[in-house]
């Protein structure tokens, strides 16, 4: 009898060990993916932080004003970025003191040179390769930190492409999203938690909010197109259209998290206020809301982080345009960082791949910091009633 029990126990313990092993494996898989993913992204994106530059003599004179190619000596004309050269005439207009001088400066090289130096696939002809090798040994070619990536907007020439206009566009869109979603979301949550009687209307609203949270993001894009752009006439590709659409998407999250924070506050606080003669609104505004603020803040940060990574609805609303300049106002055409990533991912020139990965790293850094901030705030302000 005890032998049987022992055998049984062995079997059960073995099963226990196996189960635990499966569970750990599952977690390990998830962890392994994270490591794989981040190392892949980092390895792909880091090269973009460097940009090839060549030390050349730049001639600021009348000939260059008329024909910018002549600003550098003949051997360098192909390997230097034409995109940079074409800005010289305007630059000389703005800085007349440069006229008649020749400066030796580091100039951005074109994309093929850049890719060649980074040992990636390139289309640099053999004779230029020899030229670059020679210049490199003389110290006249280097891979410098790519500040242009952060200070320039999009460009059709990968050596000049940067994320500045996309980042500014993202900021505008997010400001609009929060400006619309936060007040309306908090007001809705306050209504549902503090004021609403348990009637049909309230139930309908609650069901609606649940539904909205489950609707695929692309359908919000259809809504934005049909109502904000076609009916209300918001400009296509503008931060306004994108911000309003994302605001509607973020609304359910803010409502749900705000409600949770309001629920967590014990009734004793409310009753104390009533006892002193406060009206419902006075109670909410002066007592309940301030206590719920941390939770509301956390919820909005999470909602904001989600909105920042959205692309599909913005595709439909038109923010897929080529927008190299940063938007000046809410009505100007804009693009957002995820959309920029999407566009660059589809470009045929290979040099864009590393820039896409670098832009992804920037986006991930911002998002993960936001999420981390939210978690920190939640822990820090967590009050146990």
């Amino acid at each position: 009898m005890s032998l049987q029990i022992n055998a049984n126990m062995k079997r059960r313990y073995a099963a226990e060990k196996r189960f635990k092993a499966y569970a750990i494996t599952a977690l390990a898989l998830a962890g392994a993916f994270l490591i794989f993913f981040f190392s892949d992204m980092i390895s792909k994106g880091l090269p973009a932080l460097q940009q090839a530059e060549i030390l050349v003599d730049v001639h600021y004179n009348d000939t260059s004003m008329k024909s910018y190619r002549k600003a550098v000596d003949k051997p360098f004309r192909i390997i230097v970025s034409r995109g940079w050269l074409r800005t010289l005439p305007l630059h000389m207009e703005d800085h007349p003191e440069l006229m008649g001088t020749t400066k030796s400066q580091w100039v951005i090289a074109n994309a093929d040179v850049d890719q060649y130096l980074k040992e990636k696939p390139h289309r640099l002809k053999k004779k230029y390769q020899k030229q670059i090798d020679h210049l490199y040994s003389e110290g006249k070619v280097r891979l410098a930190f790519n500040t242009g990536f952060f200070t320039r907007g999009d460009s059709k020439m990968p050596e000049l492409a940067g994320i500045k206009s996309a980042v500014i566009g993202s900021i505008y869109v997010l400001l609009l999203t929060i400006a619309f979603a936060l007040p309306i979301g908090v007001m809705t949550a306050v209504y549902l938690e503090e004021f609403a009687p348990d009637n049909r209307l309230t139930q309908t609203i609650e069901v609606n909010i649940n539904n909205l949270a489950a609707i695929p993001s692309i359908l919000f894009g259809l809504l934005g197109l049909a109502i904000f752009i076609n009916f209300f006439g918001a400009p296509r590709s503008s931060a306004l259209a994108g911000g309003l659409t994302l605001a509607l998407m973020t609304l359910p999250i803010i409502i749900i998290t705000t409600r949770a924070s309001l629920k967590a506050i014990p009734d004793s606080i409310r009753e104390a206020a009533f006892g002193l003669g406060a009206s419902r609104w006075q109670t909410v505004w002066h007592h309940v809301l301030p206590l719920a603020m941390p939770g509301i803040l956390t919820g909005s940060i999470i909602g904001l982080a989600q909105a920042m990574g959205e692309t599909a609805p913005l595709l439909i609303v038109g923010m897929m345009a080529y927008v190299p300049d940063a938007p000046g106002s809410m009505l100007d055409a804009a693009t957002v960082l995820p959309a920029q990533i999407y566009t660059w991912a589809g470009e045929s020139i290979r040099a864009y791949e590393e820039r896409t990965a670098a832009a992804i790293l920037v986006l991930l850094t911002v998002l993960l910091s936001l999420n981390g901030l939210a978690v920190y705030l939640r822990k820090h302000f967590e009050k146990r009633w």
Binding site: R12, A15, E16, F19, A23, T25, A26, L27, L29, A30, G31, L34, F37, D40, M41, P183, I184, M187, T188, V190, Y191, L192, I205, N208, N210, N211, L212, A214, I215, P216, I218, L219, L222, L223, L225, A226, I227, L248, L251, P252, S279, R280, W281, Q282, A305, G309, E310, T311, A312, L315, I316, P338, Y342, A345, E353, I360, L367, L368, N371, V375
Partner: protein
């Protein structure tokens, strides 16, 4: 003066006027010489005046806007501002007149605020209505051209074969939905085991320190934007799948369903693990202790006591995850193909509903062509499926939720 400037002036004018109205109202109270007790605090009477000031002005704005939208008449900018100003002044004057000690200002304001709150709450209903209208209008146009029955049951999707009136049998959406389901199934096959087992481990086996690291790590997966997942799926995972397949002797397209499915599964892991974790942790300790006291091992407790108790919540999480996978766009747009393909083989290229919607709305074809409208038809069905899943999951939670003492 353009409209943006106009609304700016309108709002910018209203603000200082409101402040003035507030002060006038309040001062009427503080400077009052009657001996009666005032019903509300002075500040309330200030807000009362603001209500009387702003409401007429906003009513004028509303009227002008409606007239403009209906195309009937566009009020010139300066006229509008003057009329709004006069209305505001008249309202303010009337409001101030009504201020007396017996006036229940606090209650009046409370009513106004309540109204504002309800209005805010109604936006969610308006949004749902908006989405439904936006999709239904165009979807109706589509279903006038293509019969709904053929759309649901047809297995041939070839929009370029459709020309003019001949659209029979060209818009059968089954291959497209098959693609969506295939990718979703692969995703769930990845997400459910990993998510559930991870949740169980974190909830039952892990030390606090481990939990503090593991839970945020899983949340990171949820924080990665879908476009990034899409890029990863297209550039890294797809070639790997093709390489492994040919190493095993199978042929895989670059736009196979396996790559986006796997990546989508990883994206969904946090949904399942987070929600399951919450549900499992909400089961009272007494149930665990009771089971362990009877001599079960931890895994037996989990399998036979905890999971059944947590089942409704887990099923709800499962349904939510499915509906997320169905509606996911960016990962499939970047990694899946464009060819409607009805097949069981995940290594073949196929397309999904969301990819077709994006392609139809951003493509080159004529705007009123059946192909563009098909996006709305597909969107309608997608919306419908998502809502049904949502309703089912709410029902499941409500019906099977166990109430602990």
């Amino acid at each position: 003066m353009n409209i943006a400037d106009l609304s700016f002036y309108f709002v910018a004018g209203l603000l200082p006027l409101s402040v003035m109205a507030w002060m006038l109202g309040r001062n009427k109270v503080t400077k009052a010489t009657t001996r009666e007790r005032w019903n509300s605090r002075p500040g309330h009477y200030g807000w009362y005046s603001i209500v009387w000031l702003a409401t007429p002005a906003l009513a004028v704005a509303l009227l002008a806007g409606l007239l403009h939208l209906a195309g009937l008449y566009t009020v010139p900018a300066t006229t509008f501002l003057i009329i709004a100003l006069i209305a505001a002044a008249a309202g303010c004057w009337q409001g101030l007149r009504m201020i007396q000690p017996s006036l229940r200002a606090r209650d009046s304001i409370e009513k106004v605020i309540r109204g504002l709150l309800i209005a805010a709450a109604l936006t969610s209903i308006l949004t749902t209505i908006g989405i439904v209208i936006a999709i239904i209008f165009e979807a109706i146009k589509f279903f006038e051209i293509v019969s709904f029955w053929e759309f649901i049951t047809g297995t041939q999707w070839s929009p370029d074969a459709a020309s003019g009136d001949n659209v029979h049998g060209m818009f059968g959406s089954i291959p497209i939905f098959a693609g969506t389901f295939m990718v979703t199934i692969i995703a769930m096959l990845v997400a459910v085991p990993v998510g559930l087992l991870s949740a169980i481990f974190i909830a039952e086996y892990a030390t606090d320190g481990f939990r503090n690291v593991a839970k945020p790590a899983l949340e990171v997966l949820a924080g990665i934007p879908t476009v990034v997942y899409g890029f990863f799926a297209a550039i890294t995972v797809s070639p790997l799948v093709v390489k492994f397949a040919s190493a095993v002797g199978l042929h895989a397209d670059y736009t196979n369903a396996l790559a986006p499915g796997l990546v989508m599964g990883i994206m969904i892991i946090p949904f399942i693990s987070s929600l399951s974790d919450d549900v499992i942790r909400s089961i009272p300790q007494s149930m665990r202790e009771g089971s362990l006291a009877l001599g079960t091992t931890m895994s037996e407790t989990v399998k036979q006591v905890l999971l059944p108790a947590a089942l409704p919540g887990i099923v709800a999480a499962f349904l939510l995850a499915i509906s997320r996978a169905l509606g996911e766009t960016m990962i499939v747009v970047m990694a899946a193909g464009l060819r409607p393909n009805l097949t069981w083989n995940p290594l073949e290229g196929m397309t999904t509903v969301t990819v077709r919607i994006v392609d139809a709305l951003t493509g080159d074809q004529a705007f009123d062509s059946p192909e563009t409208l098909s996006a709305f038809g597909l969107g309608l069905v997608l919306l419908f499926i998502t809502l049904i899943l949502n309703v089912i999951s709410i029902y499941v939670i409500r019906r099977f939720r166990q109430h602990y003492e």
